[in-house]
């Protein structure tokens, strides 16, 4: 039926939507013209904690030209549907953080909208806010992991204790949040938006607007980056746009500007991580005692799941007989924190990796040798007691990264000092524990009458290459050319719920469903004629066991591994840290598309370089002080090191063609490697990131 296929998997074929992206034809949310649409805007709290006393719409203003939505206009539940029902769509009385949405406005033009906004007065009764982690009393969730015993006999042991702090970080997708809501016949509200998870938005719409499955329609527009920032937050934008559209009886565009996006949307959880590690004189690891506190901000969002991933990764990529990890997420009166690439693991792995350095220093050993001694290998068990039965790349990536590096160039100069640091990390691919089993991600697969094939999935393309690799997987499983496979649009009225595009799960979990569905269709076509349509849902292999109550068992189906080596220059007069070279070796199972795999790893590494060095958020009265792109800096092409990626292929039997998830892994390794490199250069250990020039100077001065 088709010409002899060229194998697609493993080849860096052109990105599906590449031509559209380089010509400007690709349509992102704000690029989509909708006739008659009004502009929307959110009015937010100016205090961090308290109650709304009164809302006054200036009677001198002509309000007939404007639609105003309050909490009273919500037909369903005033709840942002996610894990816990604590976050209102619009605050009715209680205010828990700055920038909390209170009112929504829409008008035919931006001028009227601005004018209307200036004629609203909100008065508050303020209450004493809680900002500091140490002062927080409200707990969102806790996790406790224990293995072996709590070690009390410290005789003949070296015990090293250290506390680390990690800061907030903004995802900073270059396309700000946005959604367009279009009311249609039969009570349908169609959302076109910049988003990672169409079915999260779908559920949120149904709940707040009291819609049926069919009345809520969510379509993903081309999306200009996500990094977790468009996992749960788009539900708020979409519900707000929908409420305005419903009341206005016409389409409404709600597109954030950068300032609003920075000020109001979720950030990476900051936290404090305390380690106490016991080792024998020969370096044998005896116990790890770890405490994690993450700041969730004012509402729960995805915090318990972030905390869970942080806790499971907290012992690092190492084998230890006795482990105790106690983690809790607390509430403060700051804007809610949420999903961000790595999802808690970068925070806890930062501490775990620096602990290896501190123990090595205490013992007078090389930290690379210590890692070799401690690292998880095939057959070893993790902190949750998961026995690693395949695709354990720890040693492979360590060797590959070391081999790729020359010697570090020393500098005798007094002003600029050079140094090198290394880290070894692992990252669980897919949802934690029973997550995939509960979720049962589903795809559809069609053999069409014209001899082509169509994949139906809610997994989104956000730059990482979903559209391309799914077609590659299907083409090879079918034994047809790549051009014979197309992907249906990410539209909830067309595609089943494949689960969210998060957790390094898309290529590995959903990709495997694509491969299996294509193989099944190929078999059926031997006996049947197209058109055919099948659905395929995830079935948890019976070899995976997880106990959610005790946190014992197989926390993830498999892990991806990375070793990162960072070279830095520290300017001793200004304190400025420049990462000059970064090598990262990644065990990805199988590189389905080597160029895209490298691209994702390099982008993740640079995002981590930013988190470790310059991306600092300063707080003021519960809000972000530097909430503009002129003051919140991310690495430019000039700041970025040359990043060299080494792909190590170490197949995983249940991944598509052996692939594992690598979307988040590159966020984990660079920060500890950079801090170790700063120590190598200056002799100073920082316990906190970002390692801004001020902090480096202060640390060097107090030495």
């Amino acid at each position: 039926m088709c010409p002899a296929p060229v194998t697609a998997v493993g080849r860096s074929v052109p990105r599906r939507e590449g031509a559209d992206k380089v010509t400007g034809r690709a349509r992102y949310t704000d690029d989509i013209a909708v006739p008659g649409a009004w502009y929307g805007r959110t009015i937010r709290s100016t205090i961090a904690r308290g109650a709304i006393r009164s809302i006054t719409l200036d009677p001198a203003f002509d309000w007939s030209r404007v639609v105003v939505v309050t909490a009273d206009d919500i037909p369903g539940d005033n709840v942002v549907q996610l894990i816990r029902d604590d976050q209102p769509v619009l605050a009715r009385t209680e205010i828990r953080h700055k920038e909390e949405p209170i009112l929504l406005l829409a008008a035919a033009d931006r001028g009227t909208l601005e004018e209307a906004a200036s004629h609203i007065r909100i008065e508050y009764d303020t209450a004493a806010p809680v900002y500091a982690i140490e002062e927080a009393t409200e707990v969102f969730s806790t996790v406790e992991i224990s293995k072996g015993k709590v070690f009390e006999d410290l005789k003949d042991l070296e015990v090293v204790e250290r506390t680390f702090r990690v800061g907030l970080q903004e995802q900073l997708y270059i396309e700000p949040q946005g959604a367009i809501a279009i009311p249609e016949a039969n009570g349908v509200i169609r959302i076109i938006g910049s988003l990672q998870c169409p079915y999260y938005v779908h559920r949120a719409l149904k709940r707040a607007l009291k819609l049926t499955d069919q009345q809520a329609v969510v379509v993903q527009a081309e999306t200009g980056g996500g990094f977790g920032g468009k996992e749960e937050y788009p539900s708020i934008v979409a519900v707000h746009a929908a409420l305005l559209a419903r009341k206005a009886g016409r389409p409404v565009r709600l597109i954030y500007d950068r300032h609003e996006d920075l000020a109001a949307t979720t950030k990476r959880h900051p936290g404090v991580i305390r380690h106490r590690t016991g080792v024998k004189k020969d370096g044998t690891l005896v116990f790890q005692d770890i405490e994690i506190v993450l700041d969730g901000g004012a509402y729960c969002t995805l915090t318990p799941v972030v905390l869970s991933r942080a806790a499971i990764h907290a012992a690092g990529a190492y084998s230890c007989p006795n482990v105790r990890i106690r983690a809790r997420a607390i509430a403060t009166n700051t804007p809610p924190n949420g999903a961000f690439r790595g999802f808690g693991a970068p925070q806890s792995l930062f501490a775990a990796e620096l602990m290896v350095e501190h123990v090595a220093e205490r013992l007078g050993m090389s930290s690379v040798d210590l890692r070799r001694k401690w690292m998880l290998r095939l057959g070893d068990s993790t902190a949750t007691g998961q026995v690693l039965s395949e695709s354990v790349g720890s040693e492979l990536v360590l060797d590959a990264a070391l081999k790729a590096c020359g010697t570090v160039g020393r500098s005798d100069g007094r002003t600029v000092k050079r140094g090198r640091g290394l880290s070894l990390v692992f990252h669980g691919s897919g949802f934690t524990g029973s997550g995939e089993k509960k979720l049962q991600g589903t795809i559809g697969f069609e053999a069409l009458a014209d001899g082509t094939f169509r994949i139906l999935t809610a997994s989104t393309e956000i730059g990482q290459g979903t559209k391309t690799i799914f077609c590659q997987l299907a083409a090879d499983a079918l034994g047809v050319g790549l051009d014979n496979v197309i992907l249906a649009p990410q539209d909830t009225s067309l595609v089943p719920d494949s689960g969210p595009t998060v957790a390094s799960r898309t290529a590995m979990i959903v990709g495997r469903l694509v491969q299996d569905a294509a193989a099944e269709i190929r078999e059926r076509l031997k006996r049947e004629k197209p058109p055919l349509r099948i659905e395929k849902s995830y079935i948890q292999p019976d070899t995976i066991h997880w106990d959610e109550t005790t946190y014992r068992g197989d926390a993830y189906p498999v892990y991806a591994w990375a070793c990162t080596i960072a070279d830095v220059e520290v300017d001793m007069t200004t304190g400025e840290v420049r990462v000059t070279d970064l090598v990262t070796a990644v065990d990805c199972g199988k590189a389905l598309h080597p160029v895209m795999a490298e691209g994702q790893i390099e982008g993740g590494c640079l995002q981590a370089v930013g988190w470790a060095t310059i991306e600092e958020i300063k707080m003021k009265d519960g809000g972000y002080q530097n909430d503009r792109l002129a003051t919140y800096l991310i690495p430019t092409a000039l700041d970025a090191p040359r990043i060299r990626t080494i792909l190590v292929e170490n197949p995983y039997s249940r991944g598509p063609f052996g692939a594992k998830g690598i979307g988040e892994l590159p966020m984990d390794g660079p920060a500890p490697a950079i801090i170790a490199a700063i120590h190598d250069a200056t002799g100073v250990w920082l316990d906190e990131i970002p390692a801004t020039a001020e902090k480096v100077l202060a640390a060097c001065a107090s030495r």
């Binding site: 990105r15 992206k21 992102y28 980056g225 430019t636």
Partner: protein, 148 residues
């Protein structure tokens, strides 16, 4: 006002104080030019005015009277992609794609120069255009592959 847009003469009746970015996107429906920050920090709205890269969010439409404006839509020759656009696809320089139009225009200007480019030249030339997906490595490779 009159100006040349992607090689074609344009005549428009617009308020000169409006942002060039909005006039391009809303009046001329050229949505390839993106708004990332509206403050001249990210470069997503980069266009060329008389061959120089500028942030169209900081330019009043009236300022381009009588001048030549090039947007991403003007880079391909009819249906044929330019060598640079092709290189962006081949090298994986476009991921989410939102910075790509601005990045292409900044790179285009660099390649127009007579000097042979080094990686450092490219880094400096693209420093006004933020990308959050690629880590810049693939973008730099793509641009360098187009040097003569």
């Amino acid at each position: 006002m009159r100006f040349t847009l992607n090689g074609t003469a344009v005549s428009l009746d617009v308020t000169g104080t409006r942002r060039l970015l909005d006039v391009l996107r809303e009046d001329l429906h050229l949505t390839g030019t993106k708004e990332g920050c509206g403050e001249g920090e990210c470069g997503a709205c980069s266009v060329l005015i008389d061959g120089e890269v500028v942030d169209s969010c900081l330019v009043a439409a009236g300022q381009v009277e009588g001048r030549e404006v090039t947007t991403v839509e003007g880079l391909a020759d009819g249906g044929r992609l330019s060598a640079l656009q092709q290189a962006f696809i081949e090298h994986g320089a476009a991921q989410c794609g939102i910075c790509t139009p601005g990045m292409l225009l900044a790179a285009h200007v660099l390649l127009e120069g007579s000097r042979r480019l080094t990686a450092d030249d490219v880094r400096e030339g693209l420093a006004g255009n933020l990308c959050r997906c690629t880590g810049y490595t693939k973008i730099i490779d793509a641009v360098l592959s187009c040097t003569k």
